[in-house]
Symmetry: C2
Subunit: 643 residues, 2 copies
């Protein structure tokens, strides 16, 4: 049997044996070797590059690999069959996901300020107090004696009853098994942590008298990245925060490819393990260490995640999400605890899942909507979450309409030849000098970082600037020539942001007409979604009184440029607000506040889901939006092309 060595860039090697003819990408997945494969092995994204160092591979040619690159050993792993022993170099994407990804995880002061403001609004305006049913009860008891023959559990019950003022005390198995030893080790002075509700106190943890910390864990599970905060359940203080890539990424960048993988034999478990064991568990463990708390002090968790992520997390069959009639297995569901998923937390800790409202509008959006406060206000608000996909909510206190746009992964660098996620080397902002056509780049990373590729916010800037400078026309085709504009043998134009010499990798960073066309379709999907949602309630863009933009893309987005290319509606810039990771903010509110949890479920139950693909007029609206800025230029009076 052939032996394949996956040489991991800067991190050892994985050796595997396989059958002749096995697909290299699938083999890598079996061995838990992280190879970036947004299209999940369809050969369309060109991201799953590996470099053949030794031996041979049977390879289907790909437009993503130039003859020079092929010569140097570069292959798309999804296009390769193993035919004998070989060694391949795997670029270091895994550690990029784990450490360098720019995420909306409250790591910058700006994000914290935005978060604090949303948090305060929910409490004061929204009347959602940050109080919950968890409490720590410190009790002191006498030791048993011949004259006082109460057994341990009754002794604790009486003590907790009088201090917590409840009728009933429940002692579940996890507490019962350590009760005798804990009481005796602490001379019958202990602290009991638990849930107090309707006159019943359910013990969740018992420990030393002075350990009274109660911890909540709010989690945003994005298709691409996962962000998390540990919070003090009494004070609301953030004890630790962190993020990493979603370990499911190697099974596909988008939800569809992951669902397909999950429906293969053993797939549900693979996908669940990838998020639970490989992603959430290490982050929680790290945050517990950082906050110096025991995992058993985490008494409640909350999750903001899209419908597919929720299904894969729980381990529930996700196929119904993608299959006609697109009815998922659950919208709202209560009943999950940490022990069900074997998460490092108190085994009895309930996990609140922000409710889904459709196959493609999930709990991240209901949690995000909670954070926007639009459910409480008169002003008509448009809420746009630009993550791996785009979801839109429109409405106010009287109604809420939502839809999902099949925008694809363009906003995270997918479907774009030099696209990448917002890690080191990503071009995140661009201006172009109209006359010289020379670009000025802002690059993620330390000073001196050379460009590697382009992330979502950078692509918006580039296309907006190319259009403003007249370098491309309304159809996205090149209209000017110059030193930064090149054409291939078929005449396809491209704009060179960094030559091979200027780049980090020795590969040119550019954007071509196919990329631009892909992006225009993506932005057209967003705009036509907004347009259709407005039409469905007989409104027009001038009804919009407030626009709230959220999501990973949002942090670097230039709203003016997004309007300029007709992606976002042309309303006054001061109506635009960036709200950061609204899913995480909503999850925070839910874990801290019982009222916010109820409110999020109410918001979900009252939100109407519009299925765009079957909505009359949507396709016309989409086609009309696939121009720069739009076929109806009157919709974008502020869009500028300096001819």
């Amino acid at each position: 049997m052939p032996k394949v060595i996956f040489q991991l860039e800067g991190a050892g090697a994985v050796e595997m044996t396989c059958n002749p003819g096995d697909n290299l990408l699938e083999l890598a997945r079996r061995g838990n070797v992280a190879i970036d494969a947004p299209c999940s092995g369809n050969g369309s994204c060109g991201k799953c590059r590996v470099k053949l160092l030794e031996g041979e591979l049977e390879t289907i040619p790909s437009r993503h690999i130039t003859p020079e690159e092929f010569e140097a050993g570069w292959r798309l792993s999804c296009n390769c069959k193993v035919i004998g022993d070989c060694t391949v170099l795997v670029p270091d994407i895994a550690s990029a996901y784990q450490s360098r990804m720019k995420t909306a995880d409250l790591s910058s002061p700006e994000e914290v300020a935005i978060f604090e403001s949303a948090k305060t609004e929910m409490e004061t305006e929204g009347n959602l107090p940050y109080t919950n049913c968890f409490c720590a009860v410190q009790v002191e008891m006498d030791a048993p004696s011949e004259a006082d023959t109460m057994p341990d559990n009754e002794r604790l019950t009486w003590a907790v009853q009088s201090v917590a003022e409840v009728d009933t005390v429940k002692i579940p198995y996890t507490v019962m098994v350590k009760l005798a030893a804990t009481l005796r080790e602490n001379d019958y002075r202990v602290c009991v942590k638990g849930e107090k509700k309707d006159g019943v106190f359910t013990c969740m943890e018992i420990g030393p008298y002075d350990d009274t910390k109660l911890v909540g864990c709010a989690i945003d599970i994005g298709t691409t990245t996962v962000s998390m905060v540990l919070v003090d359940l009494i004070s609301g203080e953030i004890l630790a925060k962190g993020s990493s890539g979603n370990g499911q990424i190697r099974y596909g960048a988008d939800v569809i490819n992951r669902i397909i993988e999950s429906s293969r034999p053993g797939g549900k478990k693979r996908l669940q393990d990838a998020i639970v064991k490989e992603t959430l568990t290490p982050i929680i463990a790290n945050l517990c260490k950082a906050a110096d708390i025991s995992a058993r002090s985490i008494l409640r968790l909350s999750i903001g995640a899209n419908t597919t992520m929720n299904h894969l997390l729980v381990g529930v069959d996700a196929d119904p999400v993608r299959m006609d009639p697109y009815i998922p297995s659950f919208f709202a569901w209560e009943g999950l605890t940490a022990q069900d998923l074997k998460l490092p937390a108190n085994p009895l800790a309930p996990i609140i899942i922000a409710p889904n409202i459709g196959s493609y509008v999930g709990g991240d959006i209901t949690a995000g909507t909670l954070a926007t406060m639009m459910w409480d206000r008169d002003e008509m608000t448009l809420f746009i979450d630009l993550g791996t996909n785009g979801e839109i909510v429109f409405g106010n206190r009287d109604f809420l309409m939502s839809c999902a746009c099949s925008a694809g992964p363009a906003f995270e660098g997918g479907d774009i030849s030099c696209g990448m996620r917002a890690t080191d080397g990503a071009i995140e902002a661009v201006t172009i000098d109209k006359d010289s056509m020379e670009p000025t780049l802002t690059i993620v990373g330390d000073a001196g970082q050379k460009p590697v590729g382009i992330c979502g916010s950078g692509i918006i800037d580039i296309i907006s600037e190319l259009f403003r400078c007249g370098i491309i026309n309304a159809r996205g085709l090149f209209a000017r020539e110059g030193s930064r504009v090149a054409r291939d043998a078929h005449g396809m134009g491209r704009y060179i942001l960094a030559t091979a010499a200027e780049s980090e990798t020795g590969r040119e960073v550019s954007i071509n007409e196919v990329d631009i066309d892909n992006f225009i379709r993506a932005k057209g999907a967003i705009y036509s979604g907004i347009d259709t949602l407005l039409q469905s309630v007989d409104m027009t863009p001038d009804c919009i009184e407030r626009v709230v933009v959220a999501g990973g893309i949002g942090s670097g987005i230039n709203m003016k440029n997004a309007i300029n290319i007709g992606m976002l509606p042309d309303v006054e810039l001061d109506k635009y607000h960036y709200i950061g990771n609204s899913s995480l903010t909503g999850a925070y509110a839910m874990v801290m506040s019982d009222a916010a949890t109820d409110k999020c479920h109410e918001v979900g139950a009252n939100m109407t889901y519009l299925e765009l693909s079957t909505y009359p007029g949507y396709m016309d609206s989409f086609v009309a939006a696939c121009f720069l800025p739009h076929t109806d230029a009157s919709l974008f009076p502020n869009s500028v092309q300096e001819m």
Copy 2:
């Protein structure tokens, strides 16, 4: 490091390496080799015999091994240190426990008749209907469509709500994860099993429409044996029944030795595994197979067990049971489920534990008391459970007093040189011809079985017959000589039931003055317990209107002989009733009937526990009872010594 091979009689071998000087019995336990050790390695019981086949052992001499036996290789494993490689033969006690032990497990028609009668009394007289909160709900739903967009969990919730007429339907994780697939595989026609209580239906299992079987599992966990029945939770029919030895036996015959073992490092887990994994799990699996049901159909379990067995089962620190002030960790406790113990049953199935009322009066006694009906009657009832220990309850509908007698293991053959449990070869009944002094033996096993030793009921018969025939006097010392009476070098007399030639093993089966003394102390403990309990309520034996005897010993017990030696009070024989395994009968009632479960807890809460060891006058009563039949012979007018 020395290598020890444990050659198992008729069942392969276990090879272990150890450090020089390691104790052989402890090594066997580490390797899960079952060696009978009722005294748990104190060297006092003489039961942990092994035969040295090869190599050497450093051995402390023991009175339990004759020089001839030593020569033949016999050793007490607790008295041996490993000093080099060796091979020892381990007698086949394990399979005796598993298959040949005579237990009160409803395996005979007599036992079934007794059980049925108690069952009917509880229902009719006791007003405890055999109804419970479990039900199977068959539902038919439409498949989701574009016009009917309800997700799976809401769809099921609506369907169950309307059929089961409940307000709330809870779908826990274990059902949620299989919901989507089960609905689709069964075309949305399914049967949901669960618990219906206070308007809430909690789903516990979902499966095919026609699989409506609901199963309960009632378990008696004795210190020595475990008995179990699977019952149909609707009809009450017994679906399967079985029993085996308690796998903890290798850690000691009595509860004290097991508690000591459990408090050693890793001990709690070892003792819990021995009962859960090695004992209960295989029995349940076998019974499920016999009844052709899936383990997930078992929706409730009930346990009748003594306080120590309950603590070791749950994995709760049992040390408080044996340590001053003898207050266990729990009496009654609700909150255990099958998944906590990883038992093969529905993971959500609650496990009802019959409440303990003291360190040495446990749930087997409260469950047994439930079965006696004494809590419902006017007549003064004395309930005696003779198992590995002896527990006594006295009272009627107005009061219930209970105590435990430190009778030791004599009734199961412990503390008696030729004592054994009631397996093949045990002498279970004896008559002696007064003139010839020749015995007539009844032996457990097939026709032609030769005697191996003496079990509890046999010992009662022998001592009663020896006393009746004047062969021993009131102090238990030999008063006649003859061919069946022998004396050793120190003049200690013994009665030979079977010579070496007549026995199965080639070893003489006899009872000596030390054995008789041990037994007289045991029967004295029982009688003085009864006496003290009566005194505590200012009553005398003639107040007893009914005597109910239960327990493994009971099935073969000759009441007349037990009265003759002053073990049981001298009341009319027709007041005596044998009730079989009352703990199992009570457990059956609890698993079937919510009312019986409540009643058992009520009985436990209302029962007074009398600690004999500190009760004034108990020691005097005990000393007075350590004669045949008693120092006050007027208490036993029907006791006969034919001088």
